[in-house]
Structure formats: structure tokens, C-alpha cells
Symmetry: C4
């Protein structure tokens, strides 16, 4: 039997982080790290096996489950946004302060950076897939083209896509993500809390089947920008300028715009009209409690 | 922190639609819009990528999840029929008045029309898939043939199908949908309410594997007729007359017939025989309450 | 609004079948009909589209969901065995009398017969798939060979399979089905009742991935024998004698043997050792109640 | 009706194993047997049908469901580790004594050995797949090469993989398994107990999509070593020395290292910081109760 002082429960009482924001930033950073480490490994398995061991259905299912489990791991700490666009929505809903949104976004990008790094270490330095990647690209890391591996980490648009089209794609795709996240988590819909991360996974699977064609559904500024910064150290500045100099801004700006507008559309068109008198009363108290708490702070 | 007056909860108290029917019509229209926007995007990804990025299993899973999430978004308002055939069943069950059924059907068609429009805007005007669709059809929108895109929006029968066969296909397909919807939602079966939209999605996935071959399982007059009207403005009147002049009536009439007859078959053969004395008592009260409410109105 | 006397709730009070056994036989017959109508349609879509519209993963998922929904529709009546092998297990567990097991089996075979008939009508007489099937086999119904359609309805062994091998295959396959059905429904495992039909579907999906290769996992005497009798009227006596004269007995006898022995193995090796004193007490009362009920009858 | 003395409930009271450790060892042995019998049958169906009847998505889904159902069958007895790496984690968490961990590991290897034997009997001696396997390899069992069948039972690395890479692959893969098992089962996350085996299945499905490429995700010393010992009696000592003499140690050592370090990482970075005062109190009592129980023993 492990000595008592090393059991998780004992540690729990001793070293718990008492400061809520610190705890939440750790949680968001770690959760986004998990999501990207797993998620980019899924894409690596598709690309390095040249679509033999993974096909698109595994990408769809795999990313969905990566979201599900990453959110389960952290949802009782920070709620598990793992995405600056979702954090921004939460600010507009009054669940975060603006400087908290900024800090959440920064640590999410850091987590994503480390997640991409971990996958790269695996497939390269620590040679997990090392011969695999050397066999694939002949030993020279190239970013693009038939042996390119940059798209394991960050996303790049299909050749036919216009700039404006790319913005619309990410506004709509991330918009639907935020729309249904708002619906699932709306207490008036009475969907049990323990199922939410599961449904978020199904949701990402769904979006992969309908908005995955043009860009590969990043849907998340941190998921795209963190790994892109990492790949800068591998492939150079082309990762920011390919296929055009402002491309890297699209998966940052468009998800923000889409998420906020669609999440509010949910509340304006649907959520706020749900008749539930009992809720109003409870909610009224909750609002007052929260205001009371903020005054105390 | 967002100013208090813009939080969803605050709006909730101020601008809520008090009139039940107006609220429900908004809900049905919006829900059917969601279903069609997502659903036709799934088919677009199949057709425009020439079955590379989506295969039939993604169509099956994608449409199932599109139903699941569209119904979750609206189920606490109108119940989430999103389908005139289901609304008709609800009328025969005494949950809707006849003029409500008519209004539900009209707004469902309108929602479906707008959903198809949104997908078309995406793939065309707003050029989300623009080069994609131009690459696909050479820049000329054609309705049918190898580069035809009309079947992204509305459904057309397989060449071998007779008129009578088409009616049977949709009667049986939509019949099973309504049969199991009646079973899942039957309170005597004690399936928790929060799981119903999830099971509706599995149900559509199932029907895709067994009745999807001939027509592509529309199963829903609004899902087919709304987009068909929209495509009239793009491809002309051939969308109504291809492959024969009365084709467009099949996915309107047959689902109505199938849904009502199969849903009642559930109650006659199975549901009404479930032994549950406790239910009878509760139900008796409920019936009397409802009658009391209707008198008050 | 539908006149009150035609609402399901009103019918419920008037025409409910009061005799428990009659009700359960109707339920088992109807449920097996549903399972076979849907299940053989899934296989028809695989075979008639020459594996274009359905592939093996759709067969696996489709049959799983066919079980799930067929059992949900009837589980509050007869429990939803839909399978003589499962009914036999329930007899050995003391939940059915022997003559009830016999009657259950007979109506399950009748339901399966009608389900196969319904699919045949669809694809042939009512011409749902009519040109499809004519295109497929040139207008002549042949049982076996490249254009054979008998295997839409009943199962036939792979060429390499010995008689003894076929028995083992079905004993083990149906054995695992019954083993895990016993585990899932064992109250000591505390899996909520409303999830059982869902897990039965996952279970059939699992068995399809590991014991589907040789015969196509009938796992159910009624599922195989009912449709085989039906096909006798279409293709003649060869459906009983192909590939050898006693083949048709394998999917009848082997599932019975496998189900009983594996379900009891669950209780002997695992279930009966679950420590749950509270259960014993409850169970004791339940046993006494049941004996009291049987005396009253 | 079966005589009362043979019903499962009656046996329950008479022959229940009272000794907790004996009961748990039976449970772990039997559960690992189930997992391997089913799991190696899934791979057999892939290999012997030359990827026609099963493709990689079925392997991913099938192994996931094999875990789910094997754990459901035994989780109320021993908890359902079925994996020495998980049992080791439970020792470090203080839920097992060290000699119990050793005994658990031994019976898990025995269970896995028997499970592989059962599959081999099926496909060979009892000739379930007999002509299948003879057709496949021409009647001579060969371990490796295009007609090799050793990889049905134990795992072998892809050719390009270095020794160090293989260790990292299994440390990370099993690490993620243990990390999320720790998260799912952490009571502070409030995920209902009856869903845990279901989520473990999804988890194995996920790991198959991201860490399945190099070795085939054994993730479990018993799952690999038990069948490897069995195949020693079929193919000779090459199963231990192919492709190099210490290969067989990798799927034993690496999962142990990965599981413990990642499971603790969950508690250190996430779990222990979850704010839940109420839990602390309950937990305190639980700890004291457990210590009281151990003193009594």
C-alpha cells in the first residue's frame, strides 16, 4: 500500500491551489495542451500513413472524442473552454471579466503550443514515428507540398478558397459550435451537466461532416495560432505567409466573430423565450448572489 | 464583465415572447432552418468533394446529429417537430389544433427554404465553396447530370424507381420515423426526456442504413419542399418536373400518410397495452387539466 | 383538434388487452417483425447496391440500432426478447414458464416471417426496389450465386466453414450476446433500465466486428428460421438444403445451446459473487411476492 | 418453470464466494479472458478476411466496445482493471495492497493467455475459421510475413520504429488511457458510475485513432504478454525475439511507467485542485472508514 502521505486524497488537502483564477488558468492551459497533443497526433496518423490507418471518419470521430475527454478532465475547474472564441462568448454572457478572457486566451495559446511541440517531439526528436516521418519526407522537414507536414499542426485553406470565403467558413463553422454549446449548456434545456462534454464531442463530429471541407475546421484561435507559432521554429516564416500573408489571421478573427454572434443568436431567437417561471425565480436569486459575491471581492 | 443589461438573463426578463403560438412558430421555423442549413451542407461536402471528404457513413451520422442538435436547440419551446408529418401526428394525438398544424407546416417550409438559401449563399454567392463549385460544374449551375447540384438541396428518385415504389418508400421510411418517435416519447416507456433528441438522431442514422437507397430519405415534407422552391429560383421549373411532373408531391404526401398510420400503429399494437395503472390516474388528471385550460382560453 | 374519443389516451382506457400473456405474445411477435423488416432492409441495401450505399460498418451499426429501437418499442410489455434463445435463458432463470417459452418462440418466428415478407414486398411486388432487384438479377429471382438474393433474408455459411465450425461459431456468438445481456440486466450491476436497449444495440455491433465473418451473425433462431420459411415460397426447398441438408438447423440449435450456457456462466463466475447484502433482502421479498402471485393465479 | 433451486437468485445465496480477494481475482482473470477472446477475434476477422470484413474503423470501435462490455461484466466485483498497468496505478492510489497488485497482474496474464487460446481453438482446432486460416496461410502456421498470424495475438512494432520510439509510444498511449481513467473515475468530476465502462470504451477508440499507428496500441502488459506466451507454444521462441530480443519487454514496462506517471499527472495538475469542500468532508470520513476496516482485518 502506498504510504498515506502520497495518496491523491492527502495531497489534495495539502497543496491545493486556493486562488481561483490561477487554478482556472492552469486548467485551461493544461486542457488545451491535451486537446492539441491528441488532436495533432490524430492528423499525424492520417498524414504519415498516407490515409491508410486513419480515414476522414476517424478524423471526425477522433477530434470529437479529443474534445470530449479534454473537457471532462478540466470541466470542474474552469469549465473547459479550451478555446478563446468560447471564452469571449462567456465574457459577453457575464461569466468572465475581460482581463480574465485575455488571460484565458493567452494560456490556451501556450497550451496549444506545447501540445503541438509534444506531438512534434514524438514524431521527430524522440523518434516515435521517426523513420515514419523520414520515410514520408526523405528526412527533410518541408512545410507544404505532397510531403509537407506543416498541416499536421496548423490549418491551411483549400486552394480554391477566397479570403472572404475563408472568413465566412470559419464564422459559420465556429458559429454553429458556439450556438449549440449555448443551447446544450442553457439550464432551461435541462440537459444533465455530466453529458455536456459528450455532446460537445458529438458536435465537433457533426461540424466535421458539414464544414470541414475548406480549411479542416480549426474553429478555435488557440488551436490554430499556438501550433502555428511552434511551426515557425521548424519551418520558418512561411507558416504565417502561406498561401497569403494574412491567412493566419482568419482562424483567429473569424471564430471570435462567429462564436459571439451565433451564441447570442441562440439566446435572442430561442433561449430567452423558453417559458420557465420557476427558473426566473431561481435565476433572480443567483444573479443577486453573484452581485453580492462581486461586491465582497 | 459585460454590462448587466446585455446579459442573456436580463434580456430574458424583458423581451420574452409571451404569446405561446408565436413563440412556437419562431421555434419551428428556426429549428427547421438549422436542420436544413447543416443538412444540405453535409450533402454539399459529399457531392462537391466527389465523395472524397464525406462518404455515406458520414451522411448517415451527420444527418442524425443534425436532427439531434436542431431538436435540442428548440425542444423546450415547441417540442422540436421540424417536420409537418410529425406535426400532423401530433394533431391526431390531440397535442395541436388543426390550424396550428397548418401554421407549423408553413413556417417549417419557410425555415427549410432559408436553410437551403444559406447553404447556397455559402457555396456560391459568398463563395465559401465558390471555386469548389465552379471547379465542379465549370461555372454553370446545372440541376442534374454528373455535374448537377440540385440534389444538394432537394431529393430526386433513383432512376429505377416507379411512382408507386416511391410512395411506398417514403410511407415506410417516414412511417418508421414516426413509429419510433411515438415509442421513444411515450411516457409509459420511461425514457428520460433529455435523451429523446439523441435517440431521434440515432433513429435517422438507422433509417439511412435501411431506407436511404432509393430517394435519400427525405422523410419530411418541409425538408424537401422548402429547398425545392428555393432551387426553382436557381435552376428553373425543372426542379418540380424532374424526373416526372408529379415527383415533387411524393415527399410531401407519402410522409404524411406514413407518419400518421405508423404512429397510430404503435399505439394500437403496443403503446396502449402497456400496463401502468399509476399512469392512467396521472393521465386522467392531465386530460382534465388540459380540457380546463382549453375552456379558459 | 382530433375528437377526444380517437386520442391514444382514450383508446388506452377502452381497448387495452387485459390478459398478460396475450399482450406479451403480441409484443414479441410485433417486435420481431420490426427487427426483421428493418434488418433485412439493411442487408437488401448492401446487396442490391453491390456494397456501394452500405458497407460492413453500416451493417454493423444498422443491425445494432435495429435491435435498440425494436426493443425500446416493446420492452415495457414483454421485455423485448425478440429471440427464442433469450426466451429460453429467461425460462432457465425462472422468469417464464416452459409453455410460455414455446409460445414466445412461435410468435417470434411468425413475426420474423412477416418481417421478411414485408421486405420482399417492398423490393419486389410493391416494387420499392423493383427495378433495382431486376437490374440486379435480370428479373429472375435466384437464391444463390453472384445475383442471388436469398441471403438478404436468411443466413448461409461461408464456403470454408465445416459443420462443427458452424455450430461453434453460433454457440460462441450467441453465447456472448446472452452473457452480456445477463450482465447488463443484472440488477446488482446497477445499470439504469432505460439504457439497456441502447447497450443491446452496442453489443450486437460488437459481435458483428468479432463473430460476423463466417455466417453473418444470425444469433437468433427466429431471425433465421422465420425468413427461411418465407423464402421457401420464393426460391423453393433449396433454402433449407443449401449448402447441406442440415444447415438450417445450425442457427436454431447452436444459439439455444450457446445462450443458456454462457448466460449461466455469467451468473456462476461473476454475477452471483457480487457482494450486495441489501439486494439479497429486496430480492428475497421479490421472490416471495412472485410466488404469492403465482399462487393467486 | 425452472426448479427454484437452480435459479440464479438461489445459487446466489448458497455458493457466493465470501473471500473478497478470491472473488476479485476470479473477476480480473475472467474479465481479461473476455477482453482477449473478443479482442483477438476482432483482429482475426481483419487479418483472415484480408481487411475485407473489418477495416480499421471496426478495429477501433470493436476494441472500444470489448473494453466497455468486459468492464461492465466485472465492475461491481473487482472494479474491472483488466490491465496490470491500471492495477499498479490503483496501488499507488492506495486502493490495492502491493501483493494484491502482484496477484491481480498474474491472474490478468492467465486470463489473457486463456482468451488467446480460445480464439486460437476457434480459428484452428475447432475449425471455426479453419478453412479460412488454411486458405490464408496454406495450412502452415507462420508467425510473420504476409501470411503470418502471430499478430492476431500479440503486438509487434512497425518496421521503422526504434526501440526508444517504441517505449515512448507505449508510455504516452497507456499514459493517456490512465490519465483519462483517473479523470473519469474521480468522484469530484461527478460522472455517474454506470457510465464509466462506456467512457472507457470511447477512450480506447480515441487512442486507436491517435496512438495506434506504430504498434497497434496494446496499452496493457497482460493483453500483450499472456497471448505472447500462448503463441510460444504455436510458433516457437521467435515470438519473443522478433524483431529484436527485448521487444516483448516494451509492452510490459512502458505501459507501467506511462500509466503511473500520467495518472498522477492528472491528480497533480488537475484533480487535486477541484474546489469541493463538501467532498473533503465525505472523503475524510471515507479515509477513516477504510483505515478502520483495515485495522479490523
Amino acid at each position: 500500500m502506498a504510504p498515506t502521505q502520497f495518496r491523491p486524497e492527502t495531497l489534495l488537502r495539502k497543496y491545493r491551489i486556493k486562488h481561483r483564477l490561477t487554478r482556472n488558468l492552469l486548467s485551461e492551459c493544461f486542457g488545451t495542451f491535451l486537446l492539441l497533443f491528441i488532436g495533432t497526433s490524430i492528423i499525424a496518423q492520417l498524414i504519415l500513413s498516407r490515409e491508410k490507418l486513419n480515414t476522414w471518419i476517424q478524423i471526425n470521430i477522433g477530434w470529437g472524442l479529443a474534445i470530449t475527454f479534454s473537457v471532462y478532465a478540466v470541466h470542474k475547474l474552469s469549465g473547459g473552454h479550451l478555446n478563446p472564441a468560447i471564452s469571449l462568448v462567456m465574457w459577453t454572457f457575464g461569466h468572465l471579466k475581460f482581463f480574465e478572457f485575455i488571460l484565458y486566451s493567452i494560456v490556451q495559446v501556450i497550451g496549444a503550443f506545447i501540445g503541438a511541440w509534444a506531438t512534434y517531439l514524438e514524431i521527430n526528436i524522440f523518434s516515435l514515428f521517426s523513420y515514419a516521418i523520414n520515410e514520408f519526407d526523405g528526412g527533410t522537414r518541408t512545410a507544404f507540398g505532397p510531403n509537407g507536414t506543416a498541416n499536421i499542426f496548423a490549418t491551411y485553406p483549400a486552394e480554391y478558397l477566397t479570403v472572404f470565403g475563408a472568413y465566412i467558413d470559419q464564422i459559420v463553422g465556429t458559429g454553429f459550435l458556439a450556438f449549440f454549446v449555448a443551447a446544450i449548456t442553457d439550464k432551461r434545456n435541462k440537459i444533465p451537466g455530466w453529458t455536456h462534454p459528450m455532446f460537445f464531442g458529438f458536435l465537433v463530429l457533426l461540424i466535421g461532416t458539414c464544414f470541414g471541407m475548406n480549411i479542416g475546421y480549426p474553429l478555435n484561435p488557440a488551436r490554430d495560432f499556438g501550433p502555428r507559432i511552434f511551426t515557425y521554429f521548424i519551418y520558418g516564416s512561411q507558416v504565417f505567409t502561406h498561401p497569403y500573408s494574412t491567412w493566419f489571421l482568419v482562424p483567429i478573427i473569424a471564430p471570435m466573430v462567429g462564436a459571439v454572434s451565433f451564441a447570442w443568436a441562440y439566446h435572442l431567437f430561442l433561449g430567452m423565450h423558453i417559458p420557465n417561471e420557476e427558473y426566473d425565480v431561481v435565476h433572480q436569486n443567483e444573479l443577486e448572489d453573484r452581485e453580492a459575491i462581486m461586491i465582497k471581492k
